[in-house]
């Protein structure tokens, strides 16, 4: 458990640098990071296929869920990377040796979404910390020390890796410890509800995606396309 947690959190904190700090190549998006983390955790626990499978399913659903996150100006959105990393590690760990249960995935997704908001708050705090680092570096800039700029970058990267590794490890450990206990308390009805909630979750994700593309005029176009598709599928 500790090894999975440690590897998952270090992997997350390194790839998370892509979200804001370095390059923004989107390797930190759930659709990429979840299958990777899933495969790594699977490899550590002797079942790469199950790990990668869980990673792909969670990655697709969370990519859909966080599709419209906009990092505009000074606004800090929830962190989709921590959301998918924690959900993948927790569900992978709980699925070891058993079948991938839909209720486990739904529970993991809900927990992952909550972690996304915690990650967003941490990002806000890190930006405030960066402001302090910049303020501290100002006298050196005024003196004309060019090396202070590179030092500032390294400091910010170091702090980000450290804070995010600790946060991710704490969230994974909490998830691995708490979720099985919570699921055990659920009656059968709730477990079957969580199973069908996966379908509703997918519809909600589509609604979120629709919201990022649609305007008042084009909503009718989307509705018409859906009706045509529904008619065709129901006749096939």
């Amino acid at each position: 458990m500790l090894l999975s947690t440690l590897v998952g959190s270090i992997f997350y904190s390194l790839i998370n640098l892509d979200t804001t700090a370095i390059a923004q190549t989107m390797i930190s998006r759930p659709i990429v990071i979840s299958p990777l983390i899933g495969a790594v955790i699977g490899l550590l626990n002797g079942d790469v296929v199950i790990g990668a499978k869980v990673g792909v399913i969670i990655g697709v659903l969370l990519e859909f869920f966080w599709i419209s996150l906009l990092p505009l100006g000074s606004s800090v959105p929830p962190n989709a990377t921590i959301s998918s990393s924690v959900a993948t590690v927790v569900v992978c760990y709980l699925s070891l040796g058993v079948q991938i249960e839909p209720y486990l995935i739904t529970t993991g997704l809900v927990y992952g979404v909550c972690c996304g908001y915690v990650g967003g708050r941490t990002d806000t705090w890190l930006r405030a910390l960066n402001a302090k680092l910049v303020k501290k570096a100002e006298p050196f800039v005024e003196k004309g020390e060019l090396s202070v700029i590179n030092r500032l970058n390294l400091q910010a990267i170091g702090v980000s890796i450290l804070v995010n590794t600790l946060l991710c490890a704490a969230l994974i450990l909490t998830g691995i410890t708490l979720l099985p206990a919570i699921i055990k308390c659920f009656p059968q009805e709730v477990l079957s509800a969580l199973r069908s909630a996966l379908w509703l979750f997918l519809l909600v994700c589509m609604g979120i995606a629709l919201e990022s593309f649609v305007t008042k005029k084009t909503i009718f176009y989307f509705g018409a396309m859906w009706v045509v598709g529904a008619v065709i599928i129901s006749r096939l």
Binding site: Q24, A193, G229, S234
Partner: protein
């Protein structure tokens, strides 16, 4: 400035948001990218100090578009270094060159942020995400592993094509055209508007087709029987969520989904 310096700026511009902060936003990233220029143009320590200070001011724009401004400011710094008194008037707006540099930085950053946010964050990324999701999900449903890998690869490669081109050619364009980039932005704006319209139309079509297809598959997987009514009902839920999200947050919609599922499990 030669290609080697431009490559150094390009490489360093990838760190533009490394020390992103609420006070001065991307100021450290901007100074990081400008370091090779400062070192080359101002060998005198006193001049270096002044150059570092003026490039350490507040700066905020869309990260992929920043290189246009970095190129522009590098050209202006070069002009300033060759004039050495800083009192020459700029031919475009008649301000002294140093004031002109910070004025240009401010106005171009604002307009490029608006353009970049709308295109990259608001349209391009969600569109490529959607394409990646559809390919990967089709791979899951049809049990084709290669399709899953292809979906992830398409997402990463196709997405990054435009940002890399904009970053590299933006840097060169800013450096070569200088104030001329404002005209380029004005010329490109309506074209980007049309591209956004087309991307949105294609996205809606993909989303509707994928929505109906995945609904039918999910209903089957959950042991239900898909029929026209259930597919139409799914569409109503999707549109309801999209409309509701303008008033309530995603997390509240999620809570609602869980509550509805639990109630439904107890009632039926």
């Amino acid at each position: 400035m030669n290609n080697s310096i431009l490559w150094q700026i390009f490489w360093r511009s990838l760190f533009i948001q490394c020390v992103l902060n609420f006070d001065k936003m991307q100021n450290t990233g901007f100074a990081t990218a400008m370091l090779p220029v400062i070192k080359r143009l101002f060998p005198d320590v006193e001049e270096q100090k002044k150059a570092l200070l003026r490039n350490f001011e507040h700066f905020n724009t869309q990260p992929y578009m920043a290189n246009l401004i970095i190129g522009l400011i590098a050209a202006k710094e070069e002009k300033f270094a060759s004039s050495q008194d800083g009192k020459i008037l700029d031919r475009h707006i008649g301000l002294p060159l140093l004031e002109d540099i910070s004025h240009l930085k401010e106005i171009t950053a604002r307009s490029l942020a608006a353009l970049g946010d709308t295109f990259f964050w608001g349209t391009w990324r969600p569109f490529i995400s959607l394409v990646g999701i559809v390919i990967v999900a089709s791979g899951i449903i049809l049990k084709l592993t290669w399709l899953i890998g292809a979906g992830i690869a398409v997402f990463l490669i196709v997405y990054n094509l435009i940002p890399v081109i904009v970053r590299w050619y933006g840097l060169r364009l800013g450096y070569e055209k200088q104030e001329g980039i404002i005209e380029v932005i004005l010329r490109v704006k309506p074209v980007i508007g049309r591209i956004i319209w087309w991307i949105q139309a294609i996205s809606l079509t993909i989303l509707a087709c994928f929505g109906v297809f995945s609904s039918s598959q999910m209903l089957g997987a959950l042991g239900g029987h898909g029929n026209l009514i259930s597919y139409l009902l799914s569409g109503v839920i999707v549109i309801w969520v999209a409309v509701t999200l303008r008033r309530i947050s995603i997390s509240k919609v999620m809570m609602l989904v869980v509550i509805i599922s639990v109630v439904q499990a107890y009632v039926w």
